[in-house]
Symmetry: C2
Subunit: 328 residues, 2 copies
């Protein structure tokens, strides 16, 4: 992992939070002049970092803003490649669209596109995804696994596991997974995942995993109140540090992804099942061709949902909106 | 099918080839002035159409050039949507790349990109594809079937059938198919197919089918002589009309594709098997992970090759280069 001077400086300040580090020591460790250190500190202040500077004692980090610029995410990020290249934009049409363009231009595996706001955020099946400024995390991750296209749904499930584990690690909050791509807390949606790929008919070229997370949203419109929640709401109103949350998710993702490439989907599947709220229950699946109600038996090795109807016939559900029956 | 005036004029001349049509009749049928007719005829002459114009008798088409501009292909094209929108460029990096861009911008199903020359033509697995000017057909077709990604290989096989049937119809020449994506004559390659898709993990957004065809190539470099041939070489040196060949392929493709969307892959599979040269033989499949030699038993409903090795174990081959053993 190659760090910029800004990232290294921020990492030093964070590691020594609440204590002073001398400008001399910083300039030696970073290999730049004291004037350069002073300039970088000024830039950090402009971004909302509170840094106290005292003659003779040095610099002390008092508080961090809730930013998700590359150096906010990358300082202290403990991964080999996931999130080590971050493309940040204040406003994008959609992070998926930009990530797809970068992937076609050859962007490296692990590259992440993050934005504060999406104008045309996309959900599954071409639906829109509300992505207001400031409170959420709207991002897309580029990976290039050497797998056939039919295995791509496995990556959606792997991502869901990484997010549940990352949220737990960063905030202590427990979430559950609703097949195929929603993360819920107490039945309300907190994260949506959109997996798209570019592929030859027998080989994936790139997979773009989009994640939309309601992090510090304080309230939802009436139409969404029963369906959506945010980490802040579930955290007794306390704000969540978005950069730390992303670090935790990237780190969990990388561990699971390396495991997946080495040993296949089996272990990921077991973890996924342990978080799944939709298995072992009576559910209704609305597909493009109709509606099936039945018992959710499990998922296949490809991530396909197995639904047993009342006549005992098992259906393989590739794509659907599912609803968990209240009686189950 | 909406035709331009140029396309309609060309269709009239082609239908009445070797006989005269009066300028008056043309102008009435096309609903434009006789001066406009004269201008369109002049443009066609510039493109290489030989048209005789006699006072009192009218215009007579003597010969057509071997062009593949939109009006060359679209006049007399009997399809509902395949090839009804054609984007022609003299030179492109690759027709796949341009078609992908158009697909992302919302291009309609059936849109075709054709070029006289590709600078960076692509084959399967990121290989290069030689696409010199003039003698071949380099094109990409955009379709939007509502299928899950794992069914995409079926479209490669469907395309192979359409090409074999189209070549037979336009030239009388019989070809055979080598799994997964080559069309051969007497064991030598004449067409390559590259199927790429953009997809959500459970739903195809667009499939781009690239076809590279050696049509009027007169000779190949020594390194390719044993591997490649052209329709001209196999047609006793007689030149093939490329626009007519494309029309035949588009028409066959549309028939098969509508059949596929309505009744599934079964019928296509039967046709494919009847043209397949690689089934029922001992073949060696080189995959990314190794080499397997065995008996090619058939293909699955998803287009996956079934290979039985010498120990009786059946392997599902998703992606490979195959070689047919000389002893089989």
């Amino acid at each position: 992992m190659v760090q910029s001077i800004r990232e290294k400086l921020l990492a030093m300040l964070l590691e020594n939070k609440d204590t002073y580090i001398s400008g001399q020591m910083i300039s030696e460790k970073l290999g730049c002049s004291r004037t350069a250190v002073w300039k970088h500190i000024s830039e950090l202040k402009k971004e909302g970092y509170e840094v106290e500077g005292l003659q003779k004692r040095g610099y002390r980090l008092i508080s961090t803003p809730n930013n998700i610029r590359p150096h906010d995410i990358k300082s202290n990020l403990k991964t080999k490649f996931i999130g080590q290249k971050i493309v940040f934009q204040e406003v994008v049409t959609s992070t998926q669209e930009l990530a797809q363009k970068l992937a076609q231009e050859g962007a490296k595996e692990g590259t992440v596109v993050v934005a504060e706001q999406q104008i045309k955020g996309r959900g599954r099946l071409g639906r829109t995804w509300e992505s207001p400024k400031g409170s959420g995390i709207w991002m897309s991750l580029i990976i290039r696994p050497n797998i056939p296209p039919f295995q791509a749904p496995q990556l959606t499930l792997l991502t869901a596991v990484a997010i549940v584990q990352g949220i737990k690690k960063a905030t202590g909050i427990s979430c559950e997974i609703k097949w195929p791509n929603d993360i819920l807390i107490n039945g309300r949606k907190i994260v949506g995942i959109l997996t798209e790929m570019q592929a030859e008919s027998d080989r994936v070229q790139s997979i773009i995993i989009g994640m939309g997370m309601n992090v510090n949203t304080t309230s939802f419109p009436d139409s969404l109140k029963q369906k959506a929640t945010s980490l802040l709401i579930e955290n007794d109103g306390k704000e969540i540090n978005r950069a730390q949350l992303l670090q935790a998710i990237f780190e969990q993702f990388e561990i699971l992804y390396i495991e997946y490439l080495k040993n296949g989907f089996e272990v990921i599947k077991l973890r996924w099942e342990s978080y799944a709220v939709s298995l072992g229950k009576i559910i209704t699946a609305r597909t493009l061709t109709g509606e099936i109600t039945g018992y959710a038996k499990g998922i296949t090795d490809q991530g396909v949902l197995l639904l047993e109807d009342y006549e005992g016939k098992t259906h393989e559900i590739y794509s659907a909106d599912i609803e968990i029956s209240s009686q189950s």
